[in-house]
């Protein structure tokens, strides 16, 4: 038996595979982790505090900067919460536009995850493929609202701009293209033996643990729990479309990988149907009071972001600014299970497991 000494190793905050400024302090016995302590807050900007001095329209750009890989869904959760409180009606055209950009965003977000996850594990080229294809979506968004990442596209009552001429056709063209690329991804990576050896059976947990830790998104569904807010608590127009919720069985990194790739496919299915059912024209802004003042009271509203359940808890005193605004960020909640998962794993698996959780540090810290 070789005698080993405990080693304290600091991973991050400037570590490429933490995808932002996130730090984990691990205690190592040889190569095996005996304790892991996540340290965060490096990206804490006090969004919730700042929001208390801003009116609701002014808060929308701040939501872009929480989960900057999925800004559209963040936009939506805020405006949806305010609309729920005020009982506003949204024109159909606007709601369709929102749904389309949200699903495009889900595809783009999962592509970022897919590319960077494989990069973490050691495969360089998938990252380039993923970003090539994501670029098409980013360009579409750029054309729609003039920004590549921080869109500030949605408003309480609708969306800021209708689709420019020809834009919807470009989305329509993108769908078959992306289906083809997904097949290519599968051929390139999904069956690769080295890759499978790295992720199969790694970072496993069961359904009860996932529920106890309040996981959501692919992190919850990989254990076989059918919980996708688009289905279970339908918001927007999701109950009009047919799509499946991919589920895993083993609760390991491989299941999460398969689920996310399958979710891209399902998003494309939703997009196809949405483009077909979309009204040809119409208003993109509903009837909204000049100054948005949700009546006094509170509401908790949640939607399914690519990373899981993103929630918005607004406490209003009937003023133009929220009295308290709290975001339930999926990355923050999902990350809690990390210290538990890492104990007994090797250092190389740390990267695999952390990547598999799919965090965006802007959202962890908020």
């Amino acid at each position: 038996m070789i005698r080993t000494e405990e080693l304290l190793l600091n991973v991050g905050p400037q570590h490429p595979s933490t995808h932002g400024v996130f730090r984990i302090v691990v205690k190592l016995d040889g190569e095996v982790i005996t304790e892991a302590t996540p340290v965060m807050g490096y990206l804490h900007r006090g969004t919730e505090k700042l929001a208390e001095q801003l009116n609701y329209t002014q808060i929308i750009p701040y939501t872009d900067r929480m989960d900057y890989v999925s800004a559209m869904t963040n936009n939506y959760v805020l405006v949806h919460a305010v609309e729920t409180m005020m009982g506003l009606e949204i024109p159909e055209r606007a709601e369709f536009m929102r749904l389309i950009v949200m699903e495009l965003q889900r595809v783009a977000s999962h592509l970022v995850w897919w590319g960077t996850y494989l990069l973490d594990i050691g495969a360089m080229s998938p990252f380039l493929y993923a970003f090539r294809d994501r670029e098409i979506i980013i360009n579409l968004f750029n054309e729609l609202c003039g920004a590549r990442l921080t869109y500030n596209y949605m408003r309480v009552g609708g969306v800021k701009w209708d689709a420019p001429p020809g834009w919807l056709d470009k989305v329509r063209e993108f769908i078959p293209y992306m289906y083809g690329k997904l097949r290519e991804y599968d051929k390139l990576v999904s069956g690769n033996e080295i890759f499978l050896a790295r992720i199969k059976g790694i970072g496993r947990y069961d359904a009860a643990t996932a529920i106890d830790y309040g996981l959501s998104g692919a992190n919850l569904r990989c254990t076989g729990i059918d919980w996708d807010l688009r289905k279970t608590e339908p918001y927007s127009l999701y109950n009009r479309f047919e799509f499946d919720v991919p589920l895993g069985r083993n609760g390991d990194c491989y299941d999460r990988y398969v689920i996310r790739l399958e979710e891209i496919k399902q998003s494309l299915r939703i997009l196809e149907q949405a483009l077909e059912q979309m009204p040809a024209g119409g208003e993109t802004m509903g009837k909204v009071p000049r100054v948005i003042r949700p009546p006094a009271g509170e509401a908790y509203v949640r939607i399914e972001s690519p990373r899981g359940e993103i929630g918005c808890h607004i406490v209003s005193k009937g003023k133009a600014e929220p009295y308290r605004l709290k975001f339930r960020r999926p990355s923050f909640v999902n990350l809690q299970i990390l210290p538990k998962l890492l104990v007994g794993e090797t250092m190389t698996n740390l990267i695999t497991i952390l990547g598999g959780v799919d965090i965006v540090v802007g959202e962890v810290d908020c």
Binding site: G41, E48, G87, D212, Y213, P289, R324
Partner: protein, 255 residues
């Protein structure tokens, strides 16, 4: 942007006595808008008019000359808007929320199994998509939490969110629970004294509460006895004060 400017110009217009004719036209336009607003309210169900009314009243006091014109405008608006409040009133009859029985069942179980007076209040928050909400007395919180999770009829196994709110009179933690199979929901509020805020930690019951409670401890200064690792999470360890408190004064107000 332009909307805000419009808001700013409003009070100036009545102060100008020479433009009565214009004023009248403006008042009429405003009346039409008010009528449209009320019609929209009747359709939407919500009532932002409550917020708009005091403002209108304040302006009425300030602009004595415009009063007559405004009153006339109001009268003109009333026949149109008069129908709206009546139309808005009928909805209350289906008053008992569909979630009321759910809430009653939860409240009954807590009152009979934890303590008769464990609940301060129980109501359905209609604004939050009819969320059944209970306010649990601080000293009964931990036992209530255990019951909520373990009792076979309740079985709220999934804690989706914990929010902390500073109400200036007291601090509050809101736990949002879900029963995954039936999709039943419950919001549980626990109040704490502002000078010495203490709420029993729910982390032993739901692991999710761990970081959420750390965040509330960090930003609002609520201590959670029973928490396994109560440290600051967002701010640095040597930070002074709790930023989300309403009376928190930042060192540099420019930042």
């Amino acid at each position: 942007m332009s909307e805000e400017k419009d808001e700013g110009q409003k009070p100036e217009a009545p102060a100008d006595p020479e433009r009565e004719a214009k004023l009248k036209a403006a008042a009429e336009a405003r009346a039409a808008r008010a009528a449209a607003k009320e019609a929209a309210n009747a359709a939407g169900g919500a009532a932002p008019e409550a917020a708009a009314d005091p403002e209108r009243e304040a302006k009425l006091k300030a602009a004595a000359e415009a009063r007559a014109a405004r009153a006339a405008a109001k009268e003109a608006a009333n026949p149109a808007g008069g129908a709206a409040p009546e139309a808005a009133e009928p909805p209350p009859p289906p008053e008992p929320s569909p979630k009321q029985p759910e809430l009653d069942a939860v409240a009954l179980l807590i009152r009979s199994l934890v303590h008769v007076e464990a609940l301060e209040d129980a109501y359905v928050n209609e604004m939050s998509q009819h969320m059944p909400t209970i306010i649990v007395k601080n000293e009964h919180w931990l036992r209530t939490a255990e019951l909520l999770k373990q009792h076979e009829e309740l079985h709220f196994t999934y804690l989706r969110n914990v929010s902390g709110v500073d109400y200036e009179t007291h601090l509050e933690a809101v736990y949002h629970l879900v029963h995954l199979e039936s999709r039943r929901e419950l919001a549980v509020k626990v109040k704490a004294d502002r000078s010495d805020p203490v709420i029993a930690s729910a982390t032993p019951v739901w692991a999710t509460a761990n970081w959420n409670e750390r965040e509330i401890y960090d930003l609002l200064g609520v201590t959670f006895p029973g928490h396994p690792d109560l440290r600051r999470i967002m701010m640095s360890d040597d930070w002074v004060g709790h930023p989300l408190r309403k009376d928190y004064e930042p060192l540099d107000s420019e930042v």
